[in-house]
Symmetry: C2
Subunit: 753 residues, 2 copies
């Protein structure tokens, strides 16, 4: 596949014109991946197993594609790669070109739930896939490059979160060939004693397969042993006598890099060295010696003995291939496994309008009920403890699924708390891509740890959507709380709302960002997200009690609109305003409401319209995002020409880029998180980031003065007053080390004004 | 510190008013941290050691601040925390309030080079700090929460990159207290056999200290043993007989969480349980029982026996404190260690204008010379192999510092290649914060893996700058290459320019983003970055040969300006244009140049000005970033009113947010990376992301038609032509699986036009 564009069955000697103009691909890892694939086939057939194959080194795609073609899975989903001469010609000649399948595993690869582009996540994705699939075994190859990554290094602990009674098993295969591109690898340089020690410490039983002369025997017997161990552990747990700290099996496979490829070239070793990493004979088209070496290499596999005249493989090979329903490339979990969750009515968890209530507390109860109604198809993964995010009500009918604590006696459980965002994300990906539903609550500032991992997932999802054969999957659902705006004593390091920006850069059809202003809006938002498919949903909210502005009905219609006028705190319900004040986010919205109250008292002549945006994408310039308001609707909400001041939870830059292209942007001002504030009080955080009620009120007066003559006259006086408020309040906070006692009282509004 | 606002020496019984109104802090981890601090003091004094103390659990700040006050380091840098009654009162009463030091370790903490907010990086930072400091030992505490993170899990391998002949040593102390906030921890539930296996596998000798009744004896003897082992390994290496795979020492310390605190409250265990994580007596102000418990707890330390009347500690305690130059809080490496590197003349590495040359190749030679001139103070850390990024010339006089390969005989070396962005970043941070200079080249798409880690570093740097006592440190220097624009066969997963956006959101005085258009501009940019201090420098460039537009002199003045007109490809040197075409980035700039050539042929009546932006911040709205052009200069460059089309390397959203606020934005159009393109040809990547020459030319005609009557007449015809080019070229690429042969020929310009 790397070399040929014709003569793919080697019916004649290879000529220069049989070779592609541009040789692209990674040979080094392929022999091992094919070896494993073949053995898995044999094992599945022999023992009637349900397996998936997750491959860490994603650039080993040729190995996968070849195996998939051979078993007919490629032909099933792509008729042009049928199991005959033409199909084989098409596969080989177009590989890694603009006309064919890419040289990386991706969503176009049948059977794949993992891309293996950004290395480090194969194991955690595999563990996520086997959760709540008691009969599934995922064989997962980890290359020795990937093994160096942090996410992989901690993923080995994932066995400690697998309850063998309810979940399946991962069979990790650490595939060592000793080299990355040119440097040796850490694991390749570890001797067997070091490796056995390390993985025994992680909790595994280790078998090392390294005798290349007897590799089939060694690998097969190790696989049989491993499956036996897995079944032993599962049987014990399922018969009510679980083994404490079961020692799950793993296999370490040492094979030479580029094994069975050219031994040497121009006096340099190729097989077993880094020279075989990509294209071992880079000048095969022009150089006769290299082309001769290619001829010898490819002929050594004796294609004439393996293929029939029609281009199909011989029956002996076919006899090792599992039946359709068991083939690695046709597993239904992978492409048609999604079942919509059974969701409770979110309204029954709503709280009274006018109360102060924690949005996290409200959804905790809702999530509890979601678990009750979906015993084996919804999970929650969190790097923090639910306790810390005020979500612990979710644990009312379920437990934390941690198996290594002899005192906890964890029996299953919908919740995994592990202090690794990478593990949580990997688990959620594997779980979601095999048809189930996951949630990922996190401290806001640390969700960015999986920024690129989320982007990788979104790329996989994009290509999945572009295939004809992959069905829907659940959206992945992030809940950000413990935000910068109420960071209490956590300080500067715990302030980073940048994950919003990560989602904004995704393809519009998949990206969803919500900042519900209160508990009821958060409930309906979460409900909406959990039943949605194929999105990346990000919900941002507070864990602290905050005012509930809207009844369930109002919450629903507000969230459906994405943004609306908060009439109760607007002047005369917001008609004919001089200025529009917009809050996006919980605390910053409260500051807008408080600013409106302040203005009503100090500057009643200023006509204020207060708007809340809960669906961030409504503000984006018309024509890009499906939720973006048309200019007409935008103008209805924000007026055509009045100044608009945004008080925004995230970085102002995000809002700037969304609004870009809307007409008359010179009337817009934006304040947002500005990287200010160490350990201080909640209200001081508002002050130092210039999103306090005083800042909002000041912006309102400055904007309103352009349209309201009476405000203009008093403008200078009023803004000085607000400046003084800012200075005095900061002084007060520092002197008293606390906010004023009435800071979070909900202001009352006289709606007749 | 968590509780008291008065009566800090317990001269009388604690009253309600002695207690702070808001109790904030983390008690659980503190006793262990203080224990270690005291023992390190004793050890330093006894053996005259050079040590630093890096603390993973950053919220253990009270332990550090107390110890620093006690040794006088706090008073040295903050006179208000003098070593007497007043100083102690100030420290305790203002702790974790808006008036005092925060409850998290940060740059305000003397002796600190690590914040410990986002967990996972303490170890790698420690290893970075000891590199090229042969006499330094960094004692690094890793909590059992942090130990669960991926970055920590792979950091244990860092010993494999430490050459004991030239570098110092890290003494890791895994501090297990068994709990996070409420859940057990992985490492807390591992038994001693599992722990010893695991860390033996990583390559350590392990000692476990867990007998709390003899903790001083156990910990001291283990520390003495560890320092002895370190010295043994170092002595062997420094006498020319290095031990292969030396087994570095580490200590596992098991102590009860919240040890010595209240044993129980209201019938619940506190000491040794998660209840001691934060504030063990949360209602001490209001609840008499809790206040009584507090009284007993604090009295149990017998302050009356430890403090003199003046509020200083007694001489017996003082006798264990090292001399000033050895104190953990006064180490010069931490706050005045920076020495500017000795840099070669970058001009001598320049290439000829008009050639095609790889920017990475050019800087590889320059970096080689930087290493030659700075044997022990400049290092390069990379998750990729230099080979792969065409930087391998940097290895001409130095090697890869990997110690675990018996065949490589690595003796030192300025380069560390390890497939973990987290390790690279941690190493660079530790190395930089102790006064040296680091570079971090990376595939563009995977640098985002350390997005939040970089933000954490920037936060540390911001607060360092705000102290009066910390000196300059080198900037940290990222080199992004292997970008999406030339991703060859790596496919969709290898495309992610989002790290630019991460830097854009930093505080303006620290953020620097450069996209030099050719090899010579890259050279002068790198030179500039390496001599700069306190910035986060991001440089983005291509590893492929690309046209060299500018001579060394031109490159220098272009980079000094940040952006300028490329006269050679502009109509009549760019005067009186109908449209301004701007390239930011290497390949997208070449497309702008090619578009200008195309337009000159097909639409000579359109007057085109071509601009290159190399310093991204010049476009930002006036008044924010120090590099932002004033509106007048902006208009001089981009004209006052003509349409501007940006062809941008990153996400368009970034440029939108930068430009927001500039007048007349309705004349601006922006194309950038749009998340399109799997494995395909380089030019197809331009086409599918709509940044090809045809897209630029089409945008130019559409813009220019507004100002040029003749262009307007032909506008429709021309844009259809370009549309056809786009369609036809894509067809050609897919059919031929390659770009047209002349795609990358530099177009010639007749400057008289």
């Amino acid at each position: 596949m790397i070399f040929l564009q014709d003569n793919v069955l080697l019916k004649r000697d290879i000529k220069a014109e049989d070779i592609k103009p541009r040789l692209l691909g990674h040979w080094g890892t392929c022999p091992g991946l094919i070896l494993v694939y073949s053995h898995l086939n044999y094992l599945i057939k022999q023992q009637n197993l349900d397996m998936l194959y997750v491959v860490g080194p994603g650039h080993g795609a040729p190995a996968l594609l070849a195996s998939l073609w051979l078993e007919g899975s490629l032909g099933k989903f792509y008729p042009e790669y049928s199991k005959d001469k033409d199909g084989l010609h098409n596969l080989i000649s177009t590989f890694s070109t603009s006309a064919g399948l890419p040289s990386h595993i991706n969503a176009e690869t049948p059977g794949a739930i993992h891309e293996g582009g950004e290395l480090g996540y194969a194991l955690s994705v595999s563990f996520g896939a086997v959760m709540d699939r008691p009969n599934l075994i995922v064989a997962c190859v980890v290359g020795d490059g990937e093994a160096e990554t942090g996410p992989t290094a901690t993923s080995w602990h994932a066995i400690k979160y697998i309850d063998p009674a309810e979940s399946g098993a991962v069979l990790p295969i650490l595939h060592l060939n000793g080299f990355k591109i040119s440097e040796r690898t850490i694991f390749g340089c570890m001797d067997n004693k070091e490796l056995v020690c390390l993985f025994t410490g992680y909790g595994y039983q280790v078998r090392i397969v390294e005798d290349v002369d007897n590799i089939d025997c060694g690998l097969h017997s190790s696989f049989v042993w491993a499956v036996g161990e897995i079944h032993k552990i599962q049987k014990a747990a399922r018969s009510g006598k679980p083994i404490f700290k079961p020692r799950w099996p793993m296999v370490i496979l040492r094979t030479p890099k580029g094994w069975t490829g050219p031994k040497e070239l121009h006096g340099q070793f190729i097989e077993g060295s880094f020279h075989s990493h990509q294209v071992p004979l880079p000048n095969a088209k022009e150089d006769d010696e290299e082309r001769q070496a290619l001829q010898e290499w490819l002929s050594s596999y004796k294609p004439e003995e393996l293929f029939t005249d029609a281009g199909d493989v011989i029956d002996e090979i076919k006899s090792t291939i599992p039946s359709d329903d068991k083939k690695l490339g046709m597993r239904p979990e992978v492409y048609k496994g999604y079942v919509a969750p059974d969701l409770p009515d979110w309204r029954q968890f709503c709280v009274d309008k006018g109360d102060q209530f924690s949005a996290m507390k409200a959804i905790g109860k809702y999530i509890d009920q979601v678990f009750v109604q979906n015993h084996h198809s919804v999970r929650l993964f969190s790097p923090d403890e639910l306790e810390s995010n005020k979500l612990s009500d979710a644990l009312q009918h379920t437990g934390r699924n941690f198996q290594w604590d002899e005192f906890s006696n964890a029996k299953g459980g919908r919740v995994i708390e592990v202090l690794s965002e990478h593990l949580c994300q990997g688990f959620m990906q594997g779980y979601t891509l095999t048809g189930r539903v996951g949630m990922f609550p996190s401290y806001e500032s640390f969700l960015g740890i999986v920024h690129t991992m989320m982007v990788q997932y979104a790329k996989f999802a994009k290509l999945a959507k572009e295939t004809t054969w992959r069905g829907d999957v659940s959206s992945i659902n992030y809940i950000e709380t413990s935000t910068w705006a109420r960071q209490e004593h956590n300080g500067f390091s715990h302030q980073n709302p940048s994950f919003i920006g990560a989602v904004l850069n995704l393809k519009p059809y998949a990206a969803r960002v919500y900042l519900p202003p209160d508990a009821n809006t958060f409930l309906t938002t979460l409900h909406h997200c959990l039943k949605s498919t194929n999105y990346i949903n990000l919900m941002v909210g507070s864990k602290q009690p905050t005012p509930v502005y809207l009844s369930p009905e109002e919450a629903e219609s507000h969230c459906r609109a994405g943004a609306s006028i908060f009439k109760f705190c607007s002047t005369e319900n917001g008609i004919r305003p001089d200025v529009v004040l917009v809050g996006i986010g919980v605390e910053v919205m409260f500051e807008v409401v408080a600013a409106a109250a302040l203005l009503r008292k100090r500057c009643p002549e200023l006509r204020v319209r207060v708007v809340n945006v809960t669906d961030l994408f409504v503000v984006e310039n018309e024509g890009t995002h499906p939720h973006a308001l048309k200019d007409e609707a935008f103008n209805n909400l924000f007026t055509e020409d009045r100044p608009i001041h945004f008080n925004y939870h995230g970085y102002a830059s995000e809002l700037k880029s969304l609004l870009f292209g809307r007409p008359r942007l010179d009337r817009v001002s934006i304040n947002g998180y500005a990287e200010e504030g160490s350990t201080t009080t909640p209200f001081d955080m508002m002050l130092v980031n210039e999103v306090s009620r005083y800042h909002v009120a000041k912006a309102a007066v400055m904007g309103g003065a352009k349209w309201n003559e009476r405000v203009k006259i008093r403008g200078q006086e009023l803004t000085s007053e607000f400046d003084k408020d800012i200075t005095e309040t900061r002084k007060y906070i520092i002197a008293n080390r606390k906010d004023r006692d009435d800071t979070y009282d909900m202001p009352s509004f006289d709606s007749s004004m």
